[in-house]
Symmetry: C2
Subunit: 689 residues, 2 copies
């Protein structure tokens, strides 16, 4: 497929003169059709509206040619931004893409997980450690909100692989509304001397007339914006770029003290000195919605906006009379279901990410007519996972600390504030959301006075895919992200006793547990049927409510076997922790070391998901110790759709039964005759049913 480029290149050289003539007639109406839209906002003050910039016929690279994109990304918020940018890129692209991400440890942690689970064909992602680059730019005083990270764009030519001849560099706050291949093709218009492609800055900043005593860095006319850069890397190396920008920056810093706009000031100062280096790009490739933007001069003329740049610190809230229009473009990708971008590029080789082909085969082998097809499909589904979706402060290392682990979907969001009031310690929560809901969730947390201050709560978004709720996959995501030695495995509709967090830590210390000891501390579970009730402040108050019938032991009427082993009557009187034995269908809420067994992901939808986990603990010889002062209370809520389906569908119940049996077969394989008691218990339960 690839070698076709060569005759094209020859043809192109021969035909360039011919095209210039053709172009004039055919594309005279051109400002209306985008590609050739003027490179400067005013008349052509420094000769940039040359033929190469306004001639519209682009020579696109061959179908399967890889395009390279570099982005600097640091922290939680930029990690969310870059995903929206990537969605817009992937939506329009028709070429394989290689993302070169220069990240801090936070962004890398988030984005590695995200891209691995996203499994987009024909997308390669490489990471570069921003920490290592800091010394290269930290000597430059900078006042811009991007901090040191903005400046890192200056050193890309020295850190990207030498094999890379060209790269497009993007800020995280841009959105594509066209195929990046058209931007890539603009490299073809560079003259021999040009090494960097940029769009003119769409504000008067560099003209120095914005306010009195405003003294910007030197720039050619309005200067250029560095939100979108075409870098011709090997030429930059040959030109001595590194030396060049450092000399310029050091000289200007003698009088200017600091950069105001980070790398952009330095790029502009270099270009002012060496104007032949820059290839001006059409304005539509970087429509800048900064405060006091002049972008209107660009987009009112153009038919087709290619890249929107939210380069105001206000981002989407920037004031602009067409803000709604641009926001809609951005919101398109903010809420876009990322799994729809798992699209192959027909006819391109080697495009599948690790595991994708095996997964496709496994899915293809499922029998759509089989009654439990939906279960099988759901179990195989790889969900996109965005860990630490919001800014998070990891807990300091403390030997007895406990993280509350739970999972939820949008319909339990209203539990979060109450939960935060009841549990002052770290939490790790997995949320099962659509891309659109993730944005609503973000808004919900940001506007909640209770949630917005709790940086010790880590939210991990697992994106929805498929008809059944992957409850145990969610629990495993939250569990894997817990950072303390112990975890409290809870459910979102439970509120722990106000004292539980302190009490658990004290108990762990007093019992001299250490994380190698296989102990599961049981937190007895109760429930109220009332939406409004006053939460007991002590075990004594709880017992009073229990005796008054305002509280019950959890599922006493519907599913007593789930908690009977906890032995509530003993608990009433207990003054010290006591050991209890596993019995069939036991599913207490427990505190265990973080390295405890994972939940079995085969259980999707409703039913038996915790029971299987407790069996696993018992099989691994965890000791169950009930804590005498611990309790947690279940609040009422509308039954989930999954429960409704379970209750109404015999197929659903049969499939759950099949899953249980498979689980037991696996248990026997792993634990041998020791697992016999679980199977016996299951069979007894079955014969009772």
């Amino acid at each position: 497929m690839l070698p076709r480029g060569r005759p094209r290149a020859m043809g192109a050289a021969v035909l360039l003169l011919l095209l210039l003539v053709v172009g004039f007639f055919l594309f005279g109406r051109d400002p209306e059709y985008g590609l050739g839209t003027t490179a400067t906002l005013d008349e052509d003050p420094y000769g940039s509206r040359n033929l190469s910039a306004s001639s519209p016929q682009l020579l696109l690279p061959p179908k399967c040619e890889m395009l390279h994109v570099a982005i600097v990304c640091a922290g939680y918020n930029s990690s969310r931004e870059i995903i929206t940018l990537t969605k817009s890129l992937l939506f329009y692209r028709k070429n394989p893409l290689h993302l070169h991400l220069i990240t801090d440890a936070i962004a890398r942690n988030i984005l590695e997980t995200l891209f691995r689970t996203w499994m987009v064909p024909a997308l390669v992602v490489s990471f570069y450690d921003a920490e290592e680059l800091k010394p290269l730019v930290s000597w430059i005083p900078n006042k811009h909100y991007s901090g040191l990270y903005g400046l890192m764009k200056l050193v890309l030519p020295s850190i990207l692989p030498p094999s890379l001849a060209q790269v497009i560099v993007l800020d995280t706050d841009v959105t594509f509304s066209s195929d990046i291949v058209e931007l890539w093709a603009l490299f073809g218009r560079f003259s021999d001397k040009q090494v960097v492609g940029l769009v003119e800055n769409q504000s008067d900043w560099y003209l120095g007339n914005l306010w009195k005593n405003h003294r910007p860095w030197p720039a050619l006319g309005r200067g250029f914006n560095t939100g979108v850069i075409l870098l011709w890397l090997d030429r930059l190396q040959q030109t001595g770029w590194e030396q060049m920008w450092k000399v310029t920056a050091k000289r200007e810093l003698l009088t200017l003290m600091a950069t105001s706009l980070a790398d952009q000031d330095i790029f502009n100062a270099v270009i002012k000195e060496h104007p032949h280096l820059v290839h001006p790009l059409p304005c539509v490739w970087n429509v800048q919605l900064s405060d006091h933007t002049l972008a209107e001069r660009c987009y009112l003329e153009a038919a087709d906006l290619k890249v929107i740049h939210w380069n105001s610190p206000k981002k989407l809230r920037v004031k602009n009379k067409h803000a709604e229009f641009f926001r809609n473009l951005h919101l398109t990708f903010l809420g876009y279901d990322g799994k729809l971008l798992r699209r192959e590029l027909f006819g391109c080789p080697n495009q599948f990410p690790p595991g994708a082909e095996q997964l496709q085969q496994a899915l293809a082998q499922l029998d759509e007519e089989e009654p439990c097809f939906e279960f099988r499909q759901q179990q195989l589904t790889v969900h996109r996972v965005h860990i630490t979706f919001l800014p998070h402060q990891p807990p300091p290392p403390r030997p007895h600390d406990v993280t509350l682990v739970a999972q939820l979907s949008m319909d339990r969001l209203q539990m979060l504030e109450a939960l935060c009031r009841h549990w002052p310690g770290p939490m790790s929560l997995a949320l099962y959301l659509t891309d659109e809901e993730a944005q609503q969730f973000l808004h919900f947390v940001e506007t909640s006075p209770v949630l917005s201050v709790r940086k010790d709560v880590a939210y991990h978004v697992v994106y929805q895919d498929g008809p059944l709720y992957p409850v145990n996959q969610l629990r495993n995501v939250a569990l894997a992200q817990a950072l303390t030695p112990y975890v409290f495995l809870s459910d979102i509709d439970f509120l722990p006793a106000y004292s539980l967090y302190d009490y658990l830590r004290a108990s762990i210390e007093q019992l001299e547990l250490d994380s190698r000891r296989k102990t599961a501390l049981v937190v007895p579970a109760f429930e109220t049927l009332h939406y409004r009730f006053s939460f007991p402040n002590s075990k004594a108050e709880l017992l009073t409510l229990l005796d008054a019938g305002s509280l019950h032991t959890f599922r006493y009427h519907e599913w007593p076997q789930g908690h009977s082993s906890t032995d509530y009557s003993r608990w009433r009187e207990a003054q010290a922790p006591y050991r209890v034995q596993w019995s069939a269908d036991y599913e207490p809420y427990v505190v265990v070391p973080r390295d405890c067994p994972r939940y079995d992901p085969r259980f999707v939808g409703f039913g038996w998901n915790k029971v299987a986990h407790i069996i696993e603990l018992d099989a691994q010889e965890y000791e169950f110790l009930v804590l005498p002062e611990a309790f947690s209370i279940h609040l009422p809520h509308t039954p989930s759709l999954d429960i409704s389906r379970f209750r109404s569908s015999p197929t659903y119940r049969n499939c759950l039964q099949a899953l249980k049996e498979e689980f037991h077969q696996d248990l026997s394989r792993r634990y041998g005759s020791a697992a016999l008691k679980y199977l016996t218990a299951l069979q007894q339960a079955r014969s009772r049913a």
Copy 2:
């Protein structure tokens, strides 16, 4: 802006020869870049791979030129399909569009409301009555699933306005993945004689070798598919199209008895006879995913698919090894938030639909810093409304019939089955959903044995927009769509007595109400706090539960004034309907004539939305009559996020107070001193608070 086309046209004529040469060199690699992708699946059996079809340089029409699209659409399901198609069209389009919709009464009713409330700039929609066209094609025997409607494409040249020279005709089951202007530009490649542009049929159907004794209509080679047609209308008229197709059809029907593929058979038969009429289009403009499709030969080569055609009766469930890829393209628009398409076309005149500019101004005048800004904005929001989202059988006219009216969002979906069991009569339900949720809802109904058979339940989707729940706007949508003389204004979390539907109709008859009499029949409201309880089969059973404390009168503890006027102690003993008086904060569930006052849409979010409606009824001198055997029971559910916000936010409560006061000012304006009692009541309530 417009007159620029003229020099272009001249230039184009002069340069055509030049281009043919240029094109050869520049676009030799062309199969990879879509525009010139081969017009036939095999070698070129009938000369269609001519220069006009493979030369890739398109002359696009001027920026603001209107493009015309005609679509035949009938019934509920096609009305949903056409919206997805329209979203894909609007997403990529950069020109004004005029949709010419040939509809039956059902589709027209749905789509008129939808497009009016969608308020998309630069989109014009005209309707044509399919009923009037039926006689023109009903003489043609047809076996295709599209019925008579497919055949109507044949008569478009005679019914579209004579001013229309060209039109693109689309089936409802196509999805665009590119800008339709590129398709429109292909008119520019028609020779003088060509009148219809079509893509080759991507199956062997017309070769007649699919099965033994398969005898298709005559066609040129593989024939053409009519899912996407470029019609050059004035030329067709001049060619005597009407005469031509009728003669051909009548002749073929002598031996073939009926069309198998509707209009497509006839188009092909005409083209077989007059091959010079057809301009073959590149295959990417109609990638056909029929059963046994050969489309792979097209899309594996092409870089860029322009239009996907789901022309199997199985639609999205068609088996194809790349089905997932195509489904993702389609799902993109199925779940796409349609409000994001309310995007203006910069620089084009007269693009705003009726009311849009006033609305924008009103929104622009709101003060974003004002504490009740969100309320004001929500009140002004125009929601897209899709009435009768699912197939619906309107109730037969019956003078005492009652429709249950309610509204819900996704988190109350599990109420629907129970509601259907309790209310065997007609219902009109408004659902507040995102586009994505609307698809989940569709799936939910289709897979529910209870819901899928209830054709007397009309579901009206109101698409989400804004942070506050527009409860009264939703009620008004459901109310406006009720088709019986009476309506029972209920809430989704209430289950009516099993006998209520019959009892209400009998009561209306016995009380000799007629829809001019201003009577509101009160259905007393109760509540249970238990998720599982056995619903009383009679008033006697209900009273027993009440005495046992398993049931309560509705909100007895939290908001007794809401229902105290109903006078539950009198109801216990009552044998006949009795009249009650309005009192402050009264909000009973009532049965009223369909033409009752609408709900006040200013109440958004939680609070006072029904109270205001009952005041309105009282102010209009409705008589409140409590029915002695009627009852309805509220089931518990998780509090909505809006209620949580109300409880926790003083701003929210203050804004609600401001709304109440404005409501009372309006009341005084409309009812004068008669409205004084409501204001007094409000002030008393306030002083108590």
